[in-house]
């Protein structure tokens, strides 16, 4: 049996897992459900010995496999203990062939070379590998040339090869599956289920993580539901149904800041037509959308389903196709410089690494974008010819900002690296607002911020929309905050717009479109 007992993990101040306990019996298919940010990926990373966990401070709690203590610090430990994992993003090496990938770190060698030269310099038994792979693929029901390079395979085949790699491990005891059916059609999904049921008969336990609730209900005997890093419920599939599950997964929060007047303009300030964007992690395809003047538009999706690609595509930070029209001007050759000259400002999700100059003062950070793109804070004649920075004017402005936005710092000269997370966010936001943007794009505005600061920040957005007539696009995975401030909420699924809902729509309705 695989036992997880009171496992907790924090990333800095953010508690990702809070006393998680769960049990998987040999041969059991155990489902794991939860919204974005509920902690599923972190749990999988801990179970599979991902080095990221140790690099960020390790975890607390105990794990046991078959009564033996299991504390994997590296993937090698996990593999030795019999834990396999099939991840959402392909984990195999593109430039190597299927056979090389499957047999990596488990290579078979020609015996006499092994005796002669040691296991490292023993010659690879290529025909032995080939025979194994052919047998394996026949067993799974997959037909592909084992010498084909992994990067040339379709996404569905890639998933099957990853699965094949884990199955090929003779020591496999428990298999973790992260969104295994995300890119599979019905036929392949059935194939996959057949394979998993076969594994179950061999007494291999499985942890099946998915957003497809119906699939989890049909395949898994036991289901655990996570929410905000805690266990929100543990059900058996016999006693579970869709509604109960939705209720467990989502949560209503008390709302304080609230959109008062809904925007009534129907002049589109941003138009997307047949717009596609491709980032390494996700992509969006053929988007049609109109964003109206002075509206506050929310955008949400599950992770990997397009909200990040949407933001990056809008700002020209990744490859894009199709038409983007801003202020009635078609954006050919889309890039951040052009968008900024159109009056767009962008507040990125990862403000700590992308939104601040940590070694510089609060003043410098707040004044930077406005100085560079709007020539604000220029020294007077004749120095303005050399485009010199007026630090006095900037300082006064920054002092105004710390008053207005309640930024807690010793002085405007303090280096932003020493501010707390919430105050860093506010500095970043103040910097974007200093450019008097016509359009403000914000990604995850309240991520990593304490509760009281969340309300302050949401109110800031409402204020600038009201006072400066700024159109705001808020991209977030926190449904409640979007409901608080937005006029409309766009839901992406699998790279396309699934629905545009009003903030008054119910949570289950959102969940339906998200998953």
């Amino acid at each position: 049996m695989l036992c997880v007992d009171n496992v907790s993990k924090s990333f800095g101040n953010l508690k990702a897992l809070d006393h998680i306990s769960l049990r998987i019996n040999p041969g059991e298919i155990h489902g794991l459900l939860g919204m974005n940010g509920s902690g599923k990926s972190t749990l999988l990373n801990i179970l599979s010995g991902n080095p990221l966990i140790q690099k960020t401070g390790g975890y607390s709690g105990n794990m046991l496999i078959q009564e033996q203590e299991y504390a994997p610090l590296t993937p090698v430990c996990a593999i030795k203990a019999g834990i396999g994992i099939v991840r959402q993003e392909s984990a195999l090496i593109p430039g190597l062939s299927i056979t090389e990938n499957i047999k990596l770190s488990r290579e078979k060698t020609v015996p006499f070379t092994r005796r002669l030269l040691g296991s490292h310099f023993a010659y690879i038994d290529k025909s032995g590998h080939r025979a194994d792979i052919v047998k394996l693929f026949k067993h799974i029901g997959v037909d592909v040339n084992p010498e084909e390079k992994y990067q040339n395979l379709s996404i569905e085949l890639k998933h099957f090869v990853e699965l094949a790699r884990e199955i090929d491990n003779p020591r496999l005891k428990y298999l973790l599956l992260d969104e295994p059916t995300a890119s599979l059609n019905k036929e392949d999904t059935q194939k996959l289920f057949k394979i998993l049921l076969g594994l179950s008969k061999k007494k291999i336990g499985m942890l099946f993580v998915s957003h497809k609730i119906e699939e989890v209900l049909s395949l898994c005997q036991n289901i655990t539901i996570m929410r905000d890093g805690k266990i929100a419920g543990a059900l058996t599939s016999k006693h579970a149904d869709l509604d109960k599950v939705y209720e467990c997964m989502t949560l209503q929060k008390r709302v304080k800041a609230l959109r008062k007047t809904l925007s009534s303009s129907n002049h589109p300030v941003v138009v997307l037509r047949d717009f596609s964007a491709n980032t390494p992690m996700e992509s969006i395809k053929d988007i049609h959308l109109e964003i109206f003047q002075e509206e506050i538009l929310g955008v949400t999706s599950l992770s990997g389903h397009g909200k990040n690609a949407f933001v990056q595509g809008l700002m020209g930070l990744c490859e894009t196709k199709g038409a983007l029209i801003v202020n009635d001007r078609r954006m050919y050759d889309l890039n951040p410089v052009r968008m900024i000259s159109e009056g767009v400002a962008y507040i990125p999700e990862d403000r700590h690494t992308m939104g601040l100059l940590l070694n510089q003062s609060v003043t410098e950070n707040i004044a930077f974008a406005a100085f560079q793109s709007r020539n604000k804070f220029l020294k007077k004649f004749p120095f303005n010819l050399f485009r010199m920075f007026d630090s006095d004017e900037a300082r006064k402005y920054a002092e105004g900002c710390i008053e207005k936005y309640h930024i807690r710092c010793e002085s405007v000269a303090q280096k932003t690296a020493t501010l707390s997370g919430g105050n860093q966010q506010k500095v970043c936001i103040a910097g974007a607002i200093a450019t008097n943007p016509r359009i403000l794009i914000v990604s995850e505005p309240t991520r990593g911020i304490d509760v009281s600061s969340k309300e302050v920040i949401l109110n800031i957005f409402l204020d600038i929309n009201h006072e400066l007539s700024t159109t705001i696009i808020v991209v977030s995975s926190e449904l409640d905050e979007l409901k608080q401030v937005c006029d409309r909420i766009v839901v992406f699924h699998d790279g396309r717009i699934r629905a545009i809902l009003p903030p008054s729509a119910s949570d289950p309705e959102f969940a339906k479109h998200l998953c």
């Binding site: 951040p336 690494t353 992308m354 070694n359 560079q372 920075f389």
Partner: protein, 342 residues
């Protein structure tokens, strides 16, 4: 200057080293006032070259091992000035002036090259530097200069590897405004020029483009998000570095008294890089200060190591020792740098 927790390892090593050398110098009766004069002259002589590394480092491109590109521009400027027989202090400034168009041209092409090797700028700059030196060898061997002082005596075609600046502007900067205090000569004119250059560079980094360069070097994705054009900003930093490098070799040559062509510029980048890296170990904040302090320390080591090596060890070993120190400093910096965010 010092960290709140006490001295860092590099600071300790450098301080101990310098102290040891001063003690050794004292022991061997090497006169202090000559050392002081040497230090001041060498500070400026090498300092401008080290200063030229600052814009490229600030832009986040790393160590400019391609300094030979800038040196070529400076050499061309000097050759043109010498060819038309400009001399005296005016000749020196005219050489500086002539080097600028070459620097801008070379710098633009160089920036095009560096923008094509994102992620490998340091190694690529080293080899761009080496290739430019070897390409220029072909030029020097066939150059259309007319002043016979620059050409081979026999045959008359092809430049000499070393051209003496005696009749032109050798040491003119060193001597101008020189202040004599007892036995010690302070080259005030030289120091003044250096101070002016440092101040100008400092003011540059307070302008819009200067701040853009600094932001690019500190956090590239932040700069991109805030509308800074990466290619153009890097090009600006690279061209500025090239202009300063051109000035640097001219200041160096006039102080040394010779223009050195052919393979001489090959290794000029390494001592300069070591200087700024030593400075970086002591001063964390301002790169210009790092350049000044680093050059001071590095040149002091140079000056003191020569006589000591000659006395205690063997003459040729001084040069080997210096190369070792320079490269060891660079290696230390490479292995202790935190990975840059790209």
């Amino acid at each position: 200057m010092l960290t709140r927790k006490g001295f860092t390892l590099p600071q300790i090593i450098i301080s101990v080293f310098i102290a040891m050398m001063f003690i050794a110098a004292f022991y061997l009766h090497i006169p202090i006032n000559i050392i002081l004069n040497d230090v001041m002259v060498r500070l400026v002589m090498n300092g401008v070259l080290v200063l030229s590394l600052v814009p490229i480092m600030n832009a986040g491109i790393g160590i400019n091992f391609g300094l030979p590109v800038a040196v070529m521009a400076g050499l061309l400027g000097m050759c043109v000035a010498v060819n038309f027989r400009f001399n005296g202090l005016a000749g020196f400034f005219i050489a500086l002036g002539f080097s600028i168009p070459f620097s801008v041209l070379f710098g633009t092409v160089y920036s095009y090259g560096l923008n094509r090797v994102k992620g490998r700028e340091e190694i690529a700059s080293a080899f761009i530097g080496f290739s430019v030196v070897s390409a220029m060898n072909i030029f020097w061997a066939t150059a259309p200069f007319s002043n016979p002082v620059m050409l081979w005596p026999i045959g008359g075609k092809g430049m000499r590897p070393t051209i003496t600046l005696e009749p032109f502007f050798a040491k003119t900067l060193n001597r101008i405004f020189a202040i004599h205090i007892g036995e010690c000569i302070i080259p005030a004119g030289m120091i003044l020029l250096f101070v002016v250059l440092c101040l100008l560079l400092s003011i540059f980094f307070k302008t819009k483009i200067g701040k853009a360069i600094t932001a690019l070097g500190e956090n590239e994705i932040y700069a991109v998000i805030n509308g800074i054009s990466v290619g153009k900003t890097r090009a600006c930093a690279i061209i500025l570095s090239t202009i300063l490098g051109g000035f640097g070799i001219i200041v160096y040559a006039q102080s040394y008294g010779f223009i050195e062509l052919y393979d001489a510029p090959l290794l000029v980048a390494f001592p300069a890089a070591a200087s700024i890296l030593i400075g970086g170990a002591i001063i964390k904040s301002n790169r210009i200060l790092q350049a000044i302090v680093g050059t001071l320390l590095f040149q002091t080591i140079y000056i003191l190591s020569s006589p000591i090596a000659n006395e205690l060890l063997l003459p040729e070993s001084a040069e080997i020792l210096r190369m070792f120190i320079a490269n060891a400093v660079i290696l230390y910096a490479l292995t202790t740098q935190r990975p840059m965010t790209r």
